[in-house]
Symmetry: C2
Subunit: 409 residues, 2 copies
């Protein structure tokens, strides 16, 4: 049984971004690269190249089925018919573009390239595959009881999370754990348990296949790659990369309006973001997403940002999605819920909290339109880009952050 | 699916005692009574009378099969052909005698009576049934995830026990948990995990069906009921009950010799036991079983007892079987293993360590040959018998213990 058996087994934001890309920059050549940020884990010790190749090749045989397209066409949670006929016609014909895979020392070089409109779908799929192959290998080293015990520990920890959620009934959260899941089956188990146990608190899942299977709201908006590509495209045609942040916001609003108007704040640091979001945008957009740095400091900053613009923060929503665990969620909720609305996109620690240390794997956009991309974020451990490009962005965008905190996941 | 589907799903000591009873006192009329020692648990809230009756009735339809008898005939772990042809012929015809069941307030009066040779088999069967019906009801109150989580917690705790056993590789133990098991399926899971994970340390199981299924040594020797009945029979014919302890030892040695020569020490207190076991018996018997009171004090006493008789304790074996948990096992092992051999009969906490508090249920022999029985033990919380009879035994046997410690299980 292959790991990925459906092209809906992917994060929802790939479609929301995918449609925008399809409408605006479909043929921009891009390159995504896989990166293992976990020190000390030699992936080649666990993952066989041929097996990885088989899994990736299998994905390229998959097509969006009629039912997949029905589901997407019927998606109305963020606005009626949010996916247009032309985009769905494009998806119907889509076959994921080729990839490049090579063993390199104790790791793998894994790259995805092609037109942005087509290559965009690889990210969470490739991550889910690499993760699951790794954990299968870890499991294969254990005894029968050992394997069963790993799942039992996972269930116990999930039980503890559910108890904590019951004790804090105001917490609202979503599953954002597709990319880092222990396995497809385990994410399915977790999502099913949450919808049964905390139906009022569990708002949905980023995984479209699971949203479909369990009648949940598919969750997600936009990611760093869109910001990064936008800046690189500007740079490639000699324009000022400072314009990128606002183009990103304007394009998104034009495509989806209020329904999906949660702005990602940290691609080049939140200070730059807040300097770019206009008063009008601050008023019209639903809220903001925090994905790096100190979430408590961010929340204070966001509240100040809204107040400065005469906006009552109680009308706005902050989504946290950076390496959450239940303690952080509870603390954020109790610290801020009387001042602003909160939501939590719970990833790795939700879908991969078993006996093994979660890997910190990413597939990042590294080039767009021939130009290297840059993400700075509010934690330089999460920065990506060539050193010279990073220096250029820092200078150009006035980035002054110096936080460097090892990624937990 | 009924809870009990085979008459081998019973503790081994029922056969070792059963054969002796069949050979020596088969027609002594006896009565066993069920007792729930767990305060605050109203069994009628959980167990439906008709269901309980169905389970007990089903047991009465069971017979020893040819394969069951093959297994028993082939049992040679404690001596060649330890079960004789006449006993096995008796078992072939056996049908468990009738029982009495009545709702009484918030509990059940459950009694088993008949000839000792036939009624003896009810004890662990009835306990396993009542326990499993109770936990089924507890489980039925939970959600799907909640039920799964109970099993996951059980597996996590079993995993912790296995880790502790790995850290203490000299510990040798057996499963004594049939009577208090969470369910038949769960005991099966535990036993299978232990034989896979700690094969050198896990010596066997008291459950004959599981010993058969997993090629393990069936474990067990003799229990209080034999001592109690022996005294009551003496009393019923006007003989001195003080003789009982030694008759018990002599009969057992005559039936099984060295192979099963682990003496149960606490029926009327270990002080009385040690006053009765002869120097010759102390030399010839393998060892002693501790089942109430302070196990550390008992071990010191046993070591002194052997030394006083010029016996090197290193040649003797102490079996502990009273409410063990892994901490107690590890402590006893580290405190005494250089001075005497140790074994552990791990019951309730092994087969019923999930999310629910284990019940303390017993089925005790209350009458033999028309005479009330008495067990004093080294913990008066475990004493059974009519108050007048208990007083009589205490006086007659010089019992001076005054320990009263609530039974954990």
């Amino acid at each position: 049984m292959p790991i990925i058996t459906s092209l809906l087994d992917i994060d929802f934001y790939k479609f929301t971004m995918g449609q925008l890309v399809f409408h605006r920059s479909p043929e921009v050549p891009v390159k995504y690269a896989f990166k293992n940020r976990t020190s000390g884990v030699r992936l080649t010790d666990f993952i066989d190249e041929a097996e990885l190749r088989d899994e990736l090749d299998h994905v390229r045989t998959l097509r969006f089925t009629n039912s997949d397209l029905h589901y997407l066409l019927g998606t109305d949670e963020y606005g009626a018919r949010m996916f247009s006929a032309d985009y769905l016609a494009f998806l119907r014909e889509l076959r994921l573009p080729d990839y490049y895979l090579e063993k390199n020392g104790d790791g793998y070089v894994t790259e995805f390239f092609g037109n942005w409109a087509e290559a965009i779908y690889w990210e969470t799929i490739a991550l889910a595959i690499i993760n699951e192959l790794y954990y299968r290998a870890k499991m294969a080293q254990l005894s029968r009881f050992g394997r069963d015990n790993v799942l039992a520990v996972g269930k116990c920890r999930l039980g503890e999370k559910i108890k904590a959620l019951h004790r804090n009934p105001d917490i609202r959260f979503s599953d954002f754990g597709t990319r880092r899941r222990f396995s497809r089956e385990w994410q399915d188990y977790v999502v099913n348990a949450l919808r049964e146990e905390v139906p009022e608190q569990f708002l949905g899942t980023s995984n479209v296949a699971l949203a479909n299977k369990y009648s949940l709201v598919p969750m997600g908006t936009s990611a760093h790659e869109r910001d990064m590509a936008t800046a690189s495209i500007l740079q490639s045609i000699g324009e000022d990369i400072r314009k990128a942040q606002n183009i990103v916001l304007e394009d998104w609003w034009a495509e989806y309006g209020w329904g999906l108007s949660i702005a990602l704040t940290d691609t080049w640091g939140t200070d730059f973001f807040f300097s770019q979001m206009t008063r009008e945008q601050a008023h019209s957009w639903k809220g903001l997403r925090q994905d790096s740095g100190d979430p408590f400091a961010f929340a204070e900053k966001a509240i100040r940002f809204y107040r400065d613009k005469d906006i009552n923060p109680k009308e706005k929503l902050l989504i946290f999605s950076d390496g959450l665990d239940v303690d952080t969620i509870v603390k954020l909720q109790s610290r801020f819920s009387r001042r602003i609305n909160l939501g939590f996109g719970w990833g790795t620690n939700l879908t991969n909290d078993l006996c093994f240390k979660p890997l910190s794997l990413v597939v990042k956009l590294v080039e767009a339109n021939g130009q290297g991309t840059v993400k700075l974020s509010d934690n330089l451990a999460k920065a990506t880009g060539r050193p010279a490009d990073i220096r250029y962005y820092k200078r150009k965008l006035g980035y002054t952050g110096n936080t460097f905190q090892e990624c937990r996941y």
